[in-house]
Structure formats: structure tokens, C-alpha cells
């Protein structure tokens, strides 16, 4: 999407009044990492919070919390164990990004929140050291998304995003799958993978409920441990609920046999059943 058009739609994007197509188009433009749009988005999002505070404040019924916890406890989470690991990495970005917001807080809460802020600042100091390196990785990632955006039709409504988390012993590995809802096209992006030995390749699997996994393609990683894979087309009726990557003999296997590196379940699919 054209930058000027995206910029025009940002308020409505935040206010939730865009239709699906416009919303997806704005998302796609934001994924390019456009600095001006991201800055405007951040500014207007704080105004959106303030406007929300002006509606009459009413407590939610107590049963709402019970319902929520019933729901999360009865939802199956096969990827639960793996989540904790890559969280550390992603939230390192989180803490760094909060530096700006925390600086704003500093200005007007000096007396009241001094102690809390001291803690915050210590936390920030320790994470800011990592910021430079992580920012570089982030911009590489975004550049890659941009490069493949058209192929992926990220702007289409209903596109599925699934995060893949690193498994032991390669907990730093992570990835994302972006695919059309009907699986007629999809891309895999992985990062921080070890180089595979000469006779091995990585293989991407589509996980199915109660059925064996289906192969979605083979790949190797570049010297930085990153790779992109345009996924193999699969029959429309195949219902994929998640993705995993294993290491396999060159040429691939019909079923996974090697060590699993990353895995992720589609939360939307999980939620349904």
C-alpha cells in the first residue's frame, strides 16, 4: 500500500472503523517498518487510550473472569513448553521499546513513582545494551517481509500468522508462518537456526488434528541461520492446525524422523477445537 494512503487511514485503523481489506493493507504497510507511520501510530494510539478513558467506567461482572480462566484452562496447548524460551528474545525488544514511553512517564511522575522508576531504569539499562543488535535483526526481518510481501499477499483479509518457538536444545531458534486461510499460498521465515550438516536439510511440516503431519517443503539456512521457504501447495481439504520444522536426510522424508527445531500452533485453530 502507498505510504500516503496508509498514513491517512491510521486514525481509523486504531479506532477500529476500517473494513477488513483496508485494515489488512495498513497492517501490510506497517510490516515494512515505515518509520513515519509507526511513529504516528504510536502517538495516536496514546490518544485513543485517553479517549477510551472518557467513557463511563463500569466494572465487568465477576463471572467474566471465571469464564476467562475456565476457557484458558480447557484450551489445549501443545506448544506450551516451548513458548517460554523465545519469549525472552522477543520481549527483549519489548523492554527496549518501552524506553520511550518510560521516559514520558518520568517527566510527570517523578515524585509519586520515583521508586518504581528506579527499578524500571535499572531494567532498561540492562536491556538497552542489547538493543542495537536486536534492532539490526529486526530491520533485516522487516526488509525480508517487505521483499516477499507481494508474493504473500499479506494485504489479503484473513491471512494466518503463526509464530514458531524454538525447542530444546535450540531454544533461540524461532520463526513465523504467514499463509492464506485456505493454505493455497504460504511463506515460512526462520531465524537463528544452526547450519545443517552436508547430508541434511530442514523440513517444514503442517500439523493436522489426529492425522500424520504433511510435508510443506525443504530448506537450508544462510550463514546467519535464517531462511525463507515458499510453502508447497497442499490440497484445499487438508486442515492444518500448526507447523513444525525438523532436520531430515537431504531430499526429505514422508514423515518426520529427526530432531524438532521449532513448532507453533495456530491459536485460531486451537481455540475452535
Amino acid at each position: 500500500m502507498d505510504h500516503k494512503i496508509a498514513l491517512e487511514l491510521l486514525e481509523s485503523y486504531l479506532f477500529g472503523t476500517l473494513d477488513d481489506a483496508e485494515r489488512a493493507a495498513v497492517e501490510a504497510h506497517l510490516l515494512t517498518g515505515c518509520a513515519e507511520c509507526t511513529a504516528r501510530l504510536r502517538d495516536v494510539s496514546e490518544l485513543s487510550v485517553r479517549l477510551a478513558q472518557a467513557v463511563p467506567q463500569v466494572q465487568a461482572p465477576a463471572r467474566a473472569k471465571e469464564r476467562l480462566f475456565d476457557r484458558i484452562r480447557t484450551t489445549h496447548h501443545p506448544a506450551k513448553r516451548a513458548r517460554a524460551s523465545s519469549g525472552r528474545l522477543r520481549f527483549a525488544w519489548g523492554m527496549a521499546g518501552v524506553a520511550t514511553a518510560a521516559a514520558g512517564v518520568l517527566l510527570w511522575q517523578t515524585t509519586v513513582l520515583r521508586d518504581e522508576l528506579r527499578t524500571t531504569n535499572r531494567l532498561l539499562a540492562s536491556t538497552i545494551a542489547d538493543t542495537g543488535r536486536l534492532r539490526t535483526e529486526l530491520s533485516t526481518y522487516r526488509a525480508e517481509v517487505e521483499k516477499y510481501k507481494d508474493a504473500m499477499m499479506l494485504g489479503e483479509p484473513g491471512v494466518r500468522f503463526v509464530s514458531l518457538d524454538g525447542m530444546e536444545p535450540n531454544r533461540d531458534a524461532f520463526g513465523n508462518v504467514v499463509c492464506k486461510p485456505d493454505m493455497s499460498a504460504g511463506m515460512l521465515y526462520v531465524y537463528r537456526f544452526p547450519m545443517a550438516p552436508e547430508d541434511k536439510e530442514y523440513q517444514l511440516w503442517g500439523l493436522r488434528d489426529g492425522l500424520p503431519p504433511v510435508s510443506l517443503g525443504m530448506f537450508t539456512v544462510d550463514p546467519n541461520g535464517a531462511a525463507m521457504l515458499k510453502m508447497k501447495l497442499i490440497p484445499e481439504a487438508t486442515h492444518i492446525v500448526g507447523f513444525a520444522v525438523t532436520i531430515e536426510p537431504k531430499g526429505g522424508m514422508s514423515q518426520p524422523t529427526g530432531m524438532m527445531y521449532v513448532k507453533g500452533m495456530d491459536p485460531m485453530e486451537e481455540g475452535e477445537g
Binding site: 479506532f15 494510539s45 466494572q59 514511553a101
Partner: protein, 194 residues
């Protein structure tokens, strides 16, 4: 003044919220519980103002916090604070709900509930405005009426650009530029810095 700041500061504490989100991502139910306690009133009230139905608003609360639990990693600090993330998610889910067929079938296309006690109904005893709300209302009052109206229709009535253009009989381009300029002015009045 210090008291007001402290109260709103509790909500606008992004570092603490990010720490909670990180624990939520690691499947810490205690963190979800704490995050819920901080924001459930905020989310419920916002959803209720869009949907004008307590049951629907409760469903949105479920969906918002369930998504937080499932996708805490989708939070992107570059795009704003956790509170901003929640606000966007809540508005989107609530407005999408108003647009769904079942919602229409139930005849809820009526204008959405307006902002808390605006100048006209200030003092209505059912509405006790917080200091935060009063500050925002005062800022809205300072806007030029044309800008205020577009913000009201967009934010508090959830109308799209074209919906506003139709309602006001104003060209689409004018609606877009007024919304943009109104938002910019409002930010200036409220001295929002990020």
C-alpha cells in the same frame, strides 16, 4: 494534582505492563490475573460504550483477554503501550461485532453511547467522571466544532470515513483531513508525548 497523576499513572505504566505481558507469554496465570484486574474495567467499559449491551461487552472482554493469553507475543512496543494495544483490540472486536449480521438482525444500528457526561449532561448523577475523563472532555470542548464532530462520529459512534461523509454530507477527503487534523490538535491540547 499529585493524586490524579498517581491514579492515572497506575494505568499508564508501560514497563510494568510489558513485564506482565512477558510473564503471560510464559503462561503465568497469575500475571494474566493481574493484567485482567488492571484492565478489565477499562476494556469492559470501552466495549460497552460501543456495543450498548452488557452481554456483548462481556463477550468482548473474554475475547480480548483470551487473545492476550494466546498472543502476548503479538504486542509490538514500537506501536505503542500495552494499554494502547488493548484499546485497539477492544475497539476492533467491538466494532466488528456491531457490523456482524446477528447484531444487525437484533436491530442495534442505533447510534452508539456517547462519551461520558459531556458538557450537556454534566452532573447527571449516574455518571461520575474521573479526572482523566474530565480532562479529555475539556480537551474535546476546546476543539473546533467541525473537528470535534468528526472525532465523535469516528471514535464514539464507530463510523467509517464513508459513514461519516454520508452522515454529514461532507466530501470523503474533507472527513479524512478533519479527522487527522482533529486528532493532531487534540493530542496537542492533551500534551500527549510519546
Amino acid at each position: 494534582m499529585a493524586k490524579t497523576r498517581a491514579e492515572s499513572g497506575q494505568r499508564n505504566d508501560p514497563a510494568r505492563d510489558v513485564a506482565l505481558l512477558r510473564r503471560i507469554h510464559e503462561r503465568d496465570e497469575g500475571a494474566l490475573s493481574a493484567f485482567y484486574d488492571r484492565y478489565s474495567t477499562f476494556v469492559y467499559s470501552l466495549a460497552r460504550s460501543v456495543l450498548r449491551d452488557d452481554g456483548d461487552a462481556e463477550d468482548v472482554v473474554q475475547d480480548v483477554f483470551f487473545r492476550v493469553w494466546e498472543r502476548a507475543d503479538a504486542f509490538d512496543p514500537d506501536r505503542g503501550s500495552p494499554a494502547a494495544w488493548l484499546t485497539t483490540m477492544t475497539r476492533r472486536l467491538a466494532i466488528d461485532r456491531t457490523r456482524s449480521r446477528s447484531f444487525r438482525a437484533r436491530g442495534r444500528e442505533a447510534p452508539l453511547e456517547a462519551v461520558a457526561g459531556s458538557a450537556s449532561d454534566a452532573g447527571r448523577d449516574s455518571v461520575t467522571n474521573s479526572a482523566e475523563a474530565n480532562e479529555v472532555l475539556a480537551a474535546l470542548e476546546q476543539l473546533e466544532p467541525a473537528y470535534r464532530e468528526v472525532i465523535r462520529l469516528s471514535y464514539y459512534e464507530g463510523l467509517s470515513h464513508s459513514g461519516i461523509a454520508t452522515k454529514l454530507g461532507t466530501p470523503l477527503g474533507t472527513v479524512k483531513s478533519r479527522l487527522r487534523e482533529g486528532v493532531t490538535q487534540l493530542r496537542r491540547i492533551l500534551a500527549i508525548k510519546t
